[in-house]
Symmetry: C2
Subunit: 333 residues, 2 copies
């Protein structure tokens, strides 16, 4: 059996309360007793029982995470594991723990949230993704449970979130292409129910607009999934209409599919840019330029925001914007 606070108290000849205070680094403890207690702690190799502490404190310092099963590219896209490492780095720094859960069944997320919150297991949640009319956000809001969302949700009222500036990122890519002389730029986007889809589309339109380039709706495709086959189909529809000089996409997998369509249908060089900069991007033919979204930093900031809330810090903000970086490769050279 390992030592408890009582054992330490006995050895140090003080009361358990005092030991507890020494551990908590309470200011009103004399130097000597503090030393005596520390001595005893070392002697017994004592370590506080976190569970007992949690019960007394009514706080577990555990953050809950749900790994979404709806993501097409959980295994192709390192986004989630990157976010998770970022979260861990900050959490660890602050003495917090992280619990995750994954399920194959659709919509089990809400079940986990309920389980974790009802049983008082976690102090708060980080949602790794946010959909339109997100049930999880709704649930957490209604129950007043602390949480942070990765990806700006539709309704930011009373929710904390971290995200990239998707408008700016896409604006930058299109702007760059225009400056390189491209005047006919197509757009292939993902599901409309994601906010980032809209933001990226807006960025595309704005850049064209600013440069006085006509916005042709037939050059804009919005897919229902972030998959290669969707990108392939979309590109084919665009090519049937007109051959653009460049195409921007809101996801690397969409770009892969588009690239395949381009390589199959035409020998003309069409510039193409992806989004997310997954490892596969560098291996395309030609290597794909892509926007790096710095997923680890997103996770890090999500943890920072949540823990700030949990510790009742006076937060000056309810969100963080993480910088993106356009990684240029052959596909846009």
């Amino acid at each position: 059996m390992s030592a408890t606070i009582k054992d330490v108290a006995r050895i140090a000849n003080v009361s358990p309360s005092t030991v507890s205070r020494v551990i908590a680094d309470s200011p009103r403890i004399s130097k000597e007793t503090k030393l005596r207690v520390e001595q005893a702690i070392k002697e017994l190799n004592y370590h506080p029982n976190i569970i007992a502490r949690s019960l007394a404190n009514k706080s577990t310092k555990i953050i809950g995470l749900i790994i979404p099963n709806t993501s097409e590219d959980l295994f192709k896209n390192p986004f989630f594991i990157q976010v998770m490492t970022g979260i861990s780095i900050y959490a660890q720094k602050k003495g917090y723990y992280i619990m995750y859960s994954y399920s194959k069944k659709e919509n089990e997320e809400i079940k986990f949230l309920k389980n974790y919150s009802n049983s008082k297991l976690v102090d708060g949640f980080i949602l790794l993704t946010s959909k339109k009319d997100d049930k999880c956000i709704e649930f957490l809001k209604k129950n007043n449970y602390p949480f942070v969302v990765v990806g700006r949700p539709e309704d930011t009222n009373k929710v904390s979130w971290v995200d990239n500036d998707n408008f700016k990122a896409m604006y930058g890519v299109v702007n760059l292409l225009i400056q390189k002389g491209h005047n006919s730029i197509a757009f292939i986007g993902g599901p409309k129910q994601f906010n980032m889809s809209k933001d990226r589309l807006e960025g595309y339109k704005k850049a064209l607009d600013v440069h006085g380039v006509y916005i042709d709706d037939k050059m804009i495709e919005q897919e229902t999934n972030f998959t290669e086959s969707c990108g392939f189909e979309a590109m084919n529809r665009i090519l049937s209409y007109k051959i653009p000089s460049a195409v921007v996409t809101t996801d690397d997998l969409l770009a892969f599919g588009a690239l395949k369509a381009i390589n199959e249908r035409t020998c003309q060089k069409i510039a193409i840019a992806g989004f997310n900069n997954i490892p596969l991007a560098a291996y395309q033919n030609p290597p794909l330029s892509s926007v790096d979204i710095n997923a680890e930093e997103l996770g890090y900031n999500a943890a920072k925001l949540l823990i700030g809330k949990l510790e009742n810090e006076l937060l000056t903000t309810n969100h963080y914007i993480v910088e993106t970086k356009f990684i240029e490769r052959e596909s846009t050279l």
Copy 2:
């Protein structure tokens, strides 16, 4: 404030002990009181406090996981997230929780293990990887903490593990190549301190041996890292010695590097096979054949083994072998 067991007891007009027994589904409770208690639970929307239960039970039903920082390809290889999903699926089925930790600093693993075990936070650990003379295994063994290792460790005495049959998998690949008529097959392996490295090398040698093919040590390269550049260097050394008709590798990244060297130095077609079947494999030029190791299944079985131990089941085995599958693509056709 949410309801406690006392509130339920009051409403149902029984003692807290009885409520507890109903929740635990104890057999010696009368039908009627059981119904009354269940009614009260529903009425109050009562959910047991897991932390309090953990303290009373001296068991948290939490499994600890350390995401290794030493892995070259945490983000390129979905291995870890796949193992993690597999673990979660089984754990969830059994009512267990999973905690993970990641750190950028080398060798912080042991610090986490100590923290998690000393503070009685977790009931057991799953090690996602095992090195030679693994400090973590040593520590857990010494402290008699329940754990399971993914990947057969050097010394299997008193340790539970899950793994593929790496010998058999590589034997199968080489055997297939020989049957296709290859008679000069090179081998590029990873760090020697991993057991799987040895097993795969043995499989390679055995297959040659069985077919009476001479084993040429100069055709065998063992690298210090699972990186493309290592694969590139190794292949160049082999090519400088002799041009093989095929090359097998123990990791896809090694194969990518080797492929690059081949494409640069010779126009001859050299068959090549990878290992792990990461998503990038299908995107090589030519698409790379590779051994799929079924990482999710590894995780699932690791959780099964650990939870079996924790629940004192009479385990008939201390390990599971997960099947591999050779995914053939153009590179070996």
